[in-house]
Symmetry: C2
Subunit: 402 residues, 2 copies
């Protein structure tokens, strides 16, 4: 097997941890696999460099930022290769450039255009463990670029895709993806397998294991992604094609997002296209609107309710007041979004009913509802957020029976 | 004028110092010059990275060490460019690769083969301040290389040579080259101008301002080198061609080297070529022999005395005992080498006599003497080292009269 392993900042946070990573890589190699390792900067390093830059400028040049920030991953890759060689393994550290990772020229958030795998292929053929500095690439003009937040995950997934790797393991400090946040419901279970689409819904709901960009890329490149912990030997969660998952539960998990706020506009002016105007203005201002509900109010005027991230509420308020679409605007940040996710919903009816009646039984009022093919999201009062998660987790049979 | 400025680790030791460097660079630019700045890693950074590597391996792979160590200079160059841009100057940071610095493939102590100045030329033409990460280059195979100790100085001198710069300023934490160590003789004066050859003699005697490799390269490339402090505005010392120095003093300075040890072999076997055998063996063992004195002893046998660096004495002892060239070997590390240097000696006779009589007057016995065209070195008992320096400094009229 060809396995790409990616180790994040906490996994390589100090020299002892880098040594542990080296041992894990060595075990993977010893098991007969070819291994490409992608590493992040040691935790804290990137933030330190950002602070340094901000000492000089609030708005440092993106090109120079990339040159600056790419240093951290280079250090880790060199150290890991040195550690592996000391253990008797043939290893080679490659920068983004040396690994053939070509990006566009949007500094600090570049996108990978193409990976020239020649060098990596050659080193693997010679039996070497290839250690790649994550997060970075090179533009066609030879400038150093970085991929933005979660960049090392992207490096790993893109390399796994380009190399046709059998597995891309993303090591972090958590064991994988859970049916819900174990801090809310201690009976939460680790999920063994989950589809890309489910994972995307989870990630967008604040499950911080993987960023959407990486999961989307894995889906596009058909990369089998595993998220697991570098601090123990527990199996992680495999994120893969829906077809690869034999026993599909109807609901895979329950997520809670308390960082939402709701804006309600009542008795909106009866103008054609007023709703379009509201949401295109919000889009122009880069405000992320999530759930939208529109219904007819008194006198034939409409009510529109929608949610935005809590930290964008102030901005949204200003935009709405300027727009003068309604004289009656309410803002509420004391809400929570509870979502259930599962590809099984596609083929099962009555899934939503279970949630509605379970919450009703506990007298939790559902204030807004939105559904997609594989997700049902409900807005409840913020104080009921955790309770709603526990009720739903049990209602869909997700509780760990062990 | 095109000026290359190089700032060492202490000059860019923290963010405030980098800001000061930015101001100095800006002043140079404002004065109407084109400026290329070469920077070292922030002081302590390189040592930290070396320590990291040694945590994993006593003998880390040179290729990976270069990848590791080159990170520090990249950070400084990016930060300095960011600082300059914030001040309103157009600046660009370049890695060794981007600056076109090609080296051989001897990792951790590469030699610069060639500099492709195209990129630097283009940026200068556009009015930019070019900031180059020192100490590093790239091999023809695209591997990152570093130049070893004093590498950033070499980068600066090589760039100045390749670009035909008018001046190459090396900024450190000392004001320049002094007629002798001011800690020994407080009347020591800073030298305004000194020839390459004199500087080479000073450097090899332990004046730590510049390494010989840099001075040799400056001489070869005919680069006007200035060494000065980044912590004040004092003029430094210009190191240049002998012809460029109008008023040549007979003696430029006095140096003291207490890290020498003497080995004396008495009654050496009367074999042809025995001296050659001794010194070729020492050379094979990489022991640096400095002064050598041979004279005829009793019975037609020879006595040979020579000096080696104190920290190589043990090694030299073993080599000598194995060689069995003499049954009578003495070792003495309580010696000091006092040297006077000056190109004026070439055209003046009687220079040595001044030294001999000045030391004799104070009853300091000269145990060994060696002379070159521009240097006279004398071995005295270690305890007389500083006194001898002061006597000679005065005898040759070097004392600061101000």
């Amino acid at each position: 097997m060809l396995i790409v392993q990616k180790y994040g900042g906490t996994s390589v946070g100090d020299l002892e941890r880098i040594e542990n990573v080296a041992k894990r890589v060595a075990r993977t190699k010893d098991a007969g696999n070819d291994v490409i390792v992608v590493v992040s900067a040691m935790s804290g390093e990137t933030n330190k460099l950002i602070e340094y830059a901000h000492h000089f400028s609030k708005n440092p040049s993106p090109r120079e930022m990339d040159l600056l920030l790419s240093a951290g991953e280079r250090v880790t890759s060199a150290l890991l290769a040195i550690a592996l060689k000391e253990m008797g393994y043939d290893a080679i550290a490659l920068t983004g450039r040396q690994a053939g990772i070509y990006t566009d020229d949007v500094h600090t958030k570049a996108r990978i255009d193409e990976i020239d795998t020649t060098t990596m292929q050659n080193h693997l053929k010679e039996g070497k463990i290839v250690v790649v500095a994550g997060f970075q690439g090179i533009t066609r003009e030879g400038e150093v670029s970085t991929l933005g937040r979660g960049g090392s995950d992207l490096s790993a997934v893109a390399i796994a895709g380009a190399m046709g790797a059998d597995l891309c393991e993303i090591y972090t400090d958590v064991d994988g993806v859970y049916t819900t946040d174990p801090r809310i419901e201690r009976r939460a279970q680790k999920i063994d397998k989950i589809s890309y689409d489910e994972m995307l819904e989870f990630a967008s709901m604040g499950a911080k294991v993987l960023q959407n960009r990486s999961v989307e890329l894995a889906k596009k490149l058909n990369v089998n992604l595993v998220t697991r912990s570098s601090f123990n030997d527990n199996e992680g969660t495999l994120i893969t094609k829906e077809e690869n998952i034999m026993e599909q539960p109807i609901v895979s998990g329950v997520a809670l997002d308390k960082n939402q706020a709701r804006i309600t506009l009542r008795n909106i002016k009866d103008e054609p296209g007023i709703a379009a105007k509201i949401f295109s203005t919000l889009a122009d201002e880069n405000i992320n609107v999530d759930m939208i509900i529109q219904n007819v109010g008194q006198d034939g005027t409409a009510n529109i309710g929608f949610t935005v991230p809590e930290n964008e509420l102030e901005h949204a308020k200003n935009v709405m007041e300027k727009l003068e679409a309604s004289e009656n605007i309410e803002f509420d940040s004391n809400i929570a979004k509870v979502s259930i996710v599962g590809v099984g919903m596609k083929s099962h009816s009555g899934v939503a009913g279970i949630a509605f009646s379970a919450l009703a039984k506990e007298n939790i009022n559902i204030e807004m509802i939105s559904t997609s093919e594989i997700k049902i999201s409900m807005i409840v009062a913020e104080k009921y957020g955790e309770l709603a998660v526990r009720i739903l987790h049990e209602a869909y049979g997700l509780d760990n029976r062990s």
